[in-house]
């Protein structure tokens, strides 16, 4: 998939364009994007970064990084994606100016968006703006029961099974492996310590079964009791893996929440519990 950051980087040609944030690329988003596939038009997505809520100071807990969002869109079959830099200036554009410069300029002949999509100054632009400019439009209804808000709620509560059903894929956490306390190694379970973007939603603290880099993984999400600099720790023990992951970007799938975090009276007890977590991870099934 080609990724452009300015409209001029995309060759002008007949396109079917799906427009939206598509954070997490959940089943509702897939329903929108799949409308641009399988036509005689180049399947294209126009999306935004950073998230408008972030730029406008409203805050957002993201389901995926931009990089992951683009990977997921590519997996669906999107050929070109334009990532529009979202700035207060962009938000202030008239809907017509935005539509012309960022969508029609790429050659869009069909524009598709989800129910309730708005853009431009005062959120006054909608698919009707494109229709007025002479482009074919299609609005995709919400998929019943699927919403980003509900997915966020489920993930925050640690219910990764139910969230996966709405996402149409397992819940993931993505980060870069950084050096940790090296405590796991001395216990016999070396872990990859993930540094995760702060704006990314991370599931409830606890121990999860999942996978990373094609290996099953037992994952601990938790905290240093005394906050300190990096108050939250996300550590993955990859089963049957040997190698150095420092500095690598890793996407960890979380399939199932095994248990709460717990303090143990002895190290032997902790090691025994991790052993049981590893067995449970071997037995876990991917949602």
């Amino acid at each position: 998939m080609n990724v452009a950051h300015r409209p001029a980087e995309l060759e002008r040609r007949p396109r079917a364009v799906a427009i939206g944030m598509f954070d997490g690329v959940h089943r509702g988003h897939r329903a929108v994007v799949s409308e641009v596939l399988g036509r005689d038009l180049t399947p294209t997505v126009v999306t935004f970064n950073p998230h408008p809520r972030e730029v406008l100071g409203y805050g957002v807990a993201l389901l995926s990084t931009l990089e992951r969002r683009l990977e997921l869109l590519a997996e669906i079959g999107v050929e070109d994606t334009l990532v529009v830099a979202f700035t207060p200036e962009l938000a202030a554009l008239t809907p017509e100016a935005f539509a012309e410069s960022n969508v029609l300029a790429t050659g869009a002949e069909l524009v598709v968006a989800g129910h309730g999509f708005r853009f431009g100054a005062g959120r006054s632009g909608s698919l009707a703006t494109f229709a007025k400019l002479g482009v074919q439009t299609r609005q995709v209804d919400l998929v019943p029961g699927i919403s980003s808000t509900e997915i966020r709620r489920l993930i925050a509560a640690g219910d990764v099974r139910s969230a996966a059903a709405m996402l149409g894929r397992p819940v993931e956490v993505e980060g870069v492996v950084v050096s940790g306390d090296a405590r796991g190694g001395t216990l016999g379970f070396p872990t990859a310590n993930l540094r995760v973007e702060r704006s990314l939603l991370v599931p409830d603290f606890g121990i999860y079964a999942g996978s990373a880099l094609g290996h099953r993984a037992a994952v601990s999400i938790g905290v240093n009791p005394h906050y300190g600099g990096s108050e939250r720790r996300i550590e993955a023990f990859l089963l049957d893996y040997e190698g150095n992951l420092y500095g690598k970007r890793v996407v960890v799938e979380l399939w199932e929440r095994l248990r709460e975090e717990a303090a143990f009276t002895s190290e032997a007890e902790l090691v025994a519990q991790i052993g049981r977590d590893v067995e449970a991870t071997r037995a876990a099934t991917r949602p």
Partner: protein, 243 residues
């Protein structure tokens, strides 16, 4: 004044036990983090439940978090009133509890937009002095009325002498005043939610990212703080996480 750190940045949701003051929990968190720490609305010592605390530069966002609707569970003793509306105040009057029918009648009158007297034992200032201080000095007070919106007021259990209630009310509503209006006093009070935050989420070891917390607030609440302040706190949070 000891300078307080602007980090760690975040929101801490606590489940306060009955007993300690809200401020004791703020102080405890501050000792652990050494950050500037603030609350977004206290609970009386006898009450338990959700306290929303802000850490580090997130304290600048306090206006976004105050003024949110609250949810409570309370047990009301319908056979007596106290000076404070809670078990700590002096007994004012003993009486037979209302009939179920009369109770329902009183509850119905308390739903929707209502005006209730502020409890005498509260922190509001009257003539520049805290009401509870005046009350303690034995000053007879004509307490001012406060307008509240009672979204929901439901009976959970009812024994005749006692009723357990679930309330969903606008910010600033005194549950003790609701109990007094029913002819009783609160024997227990538990806050189960502040705006979108639920007591089940409380975890003293978890620093909730500001970005995710703000997302859950209504836009009107967010706009009580200028956008530049919000974006600067969000940017600091990102930088700390990356550094």
């Amino acid at each position: 004044m000891v300078p307080r750190a602007s980090t760690p940045v975040g929101v801490v949701l606590l489940d306060k036990p009955a007993g300690p003051s809200s401020f004791a929990l703020v102080a405890e968190l501050r000792r652990r983090t050494r950050a500037r720490t603030g609350h977004t609305g206290t609970l009386d010592p006898f009450a338990s439940g959700l306290l929303v605390l802000l850490s580090g530069s997130a304290t600048k966002l306090a206006p976004c978090f105050v003024g949110l609707d609250k949810r409570y569970l309370t047990d009301v003793d319908l056979t007596s009133t106290t000076a404070t509306g809670d078990p700590e105040g002096e007994l004012l009057e003993r009486h037979a509890p209302p009939s179920r029918e009369e109770l329902e009648h009183r509850l119905a009158a308390l739903r929707g937009e209502v005006e209730l007297p502020i409890p005498a034992a509260s922190a509001v200032k009257i003539g520049g002095e805290r009401a509870y201080r005046l009350a303690r000095q034995g000053v007879e007070l004509e307490m001012p009325l406060r307008r509240s919106l009672v979204h929901a007021l439901d009976v959970i259990t009812y024994t005749g002498d006692d009723v357990a209630l679930e309330l969903h009310v606008s910010s600033g509503t005194y549950v003790r005043s609701v109990a007094a209006a029913l002819g009783g006093h609160c024997t227990s009070l538990r806050r189960t939610a502040v705006g979108p935050f639920r007591v089940e989420e409380a975890d003293p070891n978890r620093l909730v990212p500001v970005a995710g917390a703000l997302e859950r607030l209504p836009v009107e609440a967010l706009e009580r703080v200028p956008p530049a302040v919000r974006t600067s706190v969000l940017a600091l949070e990102r930088d700390v996480a990356a550094g």
